[in-house]
């Protein structure tokens, strides 16, 4: 049963088995995509999906009530990475399409992902580059930025997940924003 295995992975990660964390990611990734597709087919044209709603739905689908609250931080961390990958893959494919010319029909999952966010608002690939620089230099601030940007978590939620004060998250996020903006402007 999927729920049980994800919950087990989360508990093992919490007990310090970092290697198991790798198993978590593909499950979360697949689930997020599946939910996006399901939701999209039920959505009137022109409407978009909220990443936060997707992540929460994936959470309910994948994790049962026995998982400790601390383990949830790992889940949302993995979800942020999965959202990021979905968006980045999608942006890469879109760019390849533009360059390669040929009119290929857009696959359903691409459409789903495009609908998730208004990806034109910011260059997803440039943002990803900036994010990697931030991670190399300031990993904690990058964690906060990932949850803000890709999961849409509020400062209060991140504070609770990481067990720090809201004030700390606020400062980290402000720093991360300045850093990312600087990188994007370069």
């Amino acid at each position: 049963m999927l729920q049980e295995s994800v919950s087990r992975i989360l508990e093992e990660v919490r007990e310090g088995r970092a290697d198991v964390a790798r198993d978590l990611f593909p499950v979360v990734y697949r689930e997020l995509k599946a939910i996006a597709q399901r939701r999209l087919s039920a959505l009137p044209a022109g409407q978009t999906l909220q990443p936060t709603a997707l992540v929460h739905e994936a959470f309910i689908a994948l994790v049962d009530g026995s998982v400790s609250f601390r383990s949830r931080a790992h889940f949302f961390g993995a979800a942020a990475m999965a959202m990021r990958d979905i968006l980045v893959d999608n942006a890469r494919r879109k760019r390849a399409l533009k360059r390669g010319g040929g009119e290929r029909p857009v696959e359903l999952d691409e459409a789903a992902v495009t609908a998730v966010v208004d990806a034109d608002a910011v260059d997803v690939l440039a943002l990803e580059d900036a994010m990697q620089k931030l991670r190399a230099a300031h990993p904690r601030q990058a964690d906060v930025a990932m949850l803000r940007v890709y999961v849409g978590a509020s400062e209060a939620e991140i504070a609770a997940l990481h067990e720090v004060t809201e004030r700390t998250v606020e400062r980290d996020w402000r720093f991360a924003q300045a850093f990312l903006r600087r990188e994007l402007a370069r």
């Binding site: 022109g46 978009t48 909220q50 990443p51 936060t52 709603a53 929460h56 959470f59 309910i60 994790v63 049962d64 009530g65 026995s66 998982v67 400790s68 609250f69 601390r70 949830r72 931080a73 949302f76 959202m83 968006l87 966010v117 990806a119 608002a121 910011v122 997803v124 943002l127 230099a137 300031h138 601030q141 930025a145 803000r148 940007v149 890709y150 999961v151 849409g152 978590a153 509020s154 209060a156 939620e157 991140i158 504070a159 609770a160 997940l161 067990e163 004060t165 809201e166 004030r167 400062r171 402000r174 720093f175 924003q177 300045a178 850093f179 990312l180 903006r181 600087r182 994007l184 402007a185």
Partner: protein, 536 residues
């Protein structure tokens, strides 16, 4: 670049943004002296921090906001200025009301779903508008704009209570005052028939005037009509879904009242959450914790944890008891109403005249000093009148005066002196000794007994009382008792000769008591006198 350098960049940036832009340059000159590379990097980051027109980085909007929802220009007669934040279930904007020329906070709840849930939302907002209290953010107008429901409220300039608490260590009195205000707001809401359902520090605003106001009443409930039916069965998966839908379980859930697990939310549940928030503000920890929903549920049903001893002893026992009662697992054993709870808390603030949590100790020391001074005065007058000769009648009178003074002091300082069990035990032992002496000496006067015999027997009676009461007293008071007991033993041998030692013994033991007079320990605070805890 080195790890240390990167950490300094962040540390200096974080400190710089706390300062007013006008002071920043001078402060940075100081902080980055001799490190031009550091300075230029921080300057650069600060420039990007200030750049408000920079592209939004938020790919995923917070859940209240939808990607398709642009900021509206106008809602009703209000012109939208800017986004203030996301609260409750919608975005909150700063908006201008042209006709009245004032700024309002406008909460816009997008497309409240079907007509039924929209109507419910509207009803809840109207209920909130009925609450008239200076401690609830006043609602100016509630209305429909197309599919959206908007609520125009007072624009409060300030921060949330949780930020206010985080910003700096606050004295106990200030914390209590803010919570008492918020509690009055909740009480007013309950009287108007409105439950809050989501009380926590971030739902209370502290204005720049220092007054606390409660925000976001019961609105969260209105949006999801099928939630109620789903909560009916409280399996952890359902509860998970319910709470995750509201976004509060993503992290550590701090404030789940026992009724959250049964779905039976009521006014007492608001009270529980209020007490949990106050508990956390005072003791820096949550009253109930669990790693999983199941263990949290168990912890909540067991009742609140004992507050950490070293913290609790700084606090007025009345407050500690009030909070612990509000956190009872059984709603029926909590306070009958928010009003009752708040007036209990308010009585504590009224007594502690000082912002210092140690005010109580100081008050006790004052009480003892006054008793000591009056006792010495009494003794001096007695000596002057008898010229050193012992007179039973005069001593009887001075003991009666001492008795009277003690009674007056107890009445004047009753909250401090009578608040804990051992204070009461100490004072009753004292009163018992005085009363025994009055009765015994009066008997001696009436029967014309030998003065020395009467004094000897007095000393033996007092010695017995001291020895017996020492068993019941705290160990740290034994030194005091030992001094008095040795004086009394000497006095039994030669009452007239040792008379002069009396003030010395009294003053030494009193000084020792003052020195040792610590705030009562937690054990007493919580187990103390069930007899005084009002029951329903």
């Amino acid at each position: 670049m080195s790890e240390a350098h990167r950490e300094r960049v962040f540390a200096i940036f974080a400190e710089a943004i706390e300062r007013a832009p006008s002071e920043r340059a001078a402060w940075l000159d100081e902080a980055c002296r001799g490190e031009p590379a550091l300075r230029s990097e921080v300057d650069e980051l600060l420039a990007f921090d200030a750049e408000t027109r920079a592209p939004s980085l938020r790919l995923a909007p917070e859940r209240e906001e939808r990607a398709s929802d642009a900021v509206p220009e106008r809602v009703g007669r209000y012109t939208i200025d800017r986004v203030l934040g996301a609260g409750g279930m919608g975005l909150v904007y700063a908006a201008h009301d042209k006709s009245l020329g004032r700024t309002v906070a406008l909460k816009l709840v997008r497309g409240g779903g079907d007509a039924v849930s929209r109507a419910r939302l509207l009803r809840e907002a109207q209920a909130m508008a009925r609450i008239a209290s200076p401690f609830v953010v006043p609602v100016y107008e509630v209305g429909l704009e197309g599919d959206d429901v908007f609520v125009a409220m007072e624009h409060v300039d300030g921060s949330t209570l949780s930020r206010w608490l985080d910003a700096e260590p606050r004295p106990q009195r200030a914390i209590l005052e803010r919570f008492i205000e918020a509690g009055r707001g909740l009480a007013a809401a309950h009287k108007a028939g409105v439950l809050h359902r989501d009380f926590k520090g971030s739902n209370v605003l502290v204005g720049s005037d220092g007054r606390a106001r409660v925000l976001d009443f019961g609105l969260a409930r209105g949006i999801d009509p099928d939630l109620r039916s789903r909560v009916g069965d409280a399996s952890s998966a359902t509860l998970d879904a319910k709470i995750t839908a509201h976004g509060s379980l993503m992290g550590t859930p701090g404030y789940l009242s026992p009724e959250h697990f049964t779905g039976d939310f009521r006014a007492e549940s608001d009270q529980w959450r209020y007490c949990a928030a106050l508990y956390r503000a005072l003791f820096g920890a949550l009253p109930c914790e669990g790693e999983t929903l199941a263990s949290l549920r168990e912890s909540v049903s067991r009742g609140p944890k004992q507050p950490p001893i070293e913290r609790a002893s700084e606090f007025d026992p009345v407050v500690v008891r009030a909070v612990m009662r509000g956190l009872s697992p059984d709603p029926a054993s909590r306070w009958p109403s928010m009003d009752a709870l708040v007036s209990e808390l308010a009585s504590s603030v009224a007594v502690s005249r000082d912002a210092d949590p140690r005010a109580f100790r100081r008050q006790k020391q004052w009480a003892l000093a006054i008793v000591g001074a009056l006792g010495a005065l009494n003794y001096a007058v007695q000596l002057a009148r008898t010229g050193g000769r012992f007179d039973l009648r005069i001593s009887l009178r001075s003991i009666a005066i001492a008795f009277f003074v003690l009674a007056v002091m107890c009445a004047a300082f009753r909250r401090t002196l009578l608040s804990t069990r051992h204070n009461r035990a100490l004072l009753s032992a004292f009163a018992l000794v005085l009363a025994t002496m009055v009765v015994h000496r009066a008997y001696g006067v009436l029967r014309g007994l030998d003065v020395v015999d009467v004094l000897r027997i007095d000393a033996l009676i007092c010695l017995t009382v001291s020895a017996v009461s020492a068993i019941a007293l705290e160990r740290w008071l034994w030194g005091t008792v030992a001094i008095m007991a040795s004086y009394l033993a000497l006095s039994a041998l030669g009452p007239l000769a040792t008379q002069a030692l009396f003030p010395a013994a009294l003053l030494t033991s009193a000084a020792l008591a003052v020195w040792n007079w610590r705030a009562p320990t937690l054990r007493e605070l919580t187990r103390d006198d069930t007899d005084r805890t009002p029951s329903r």
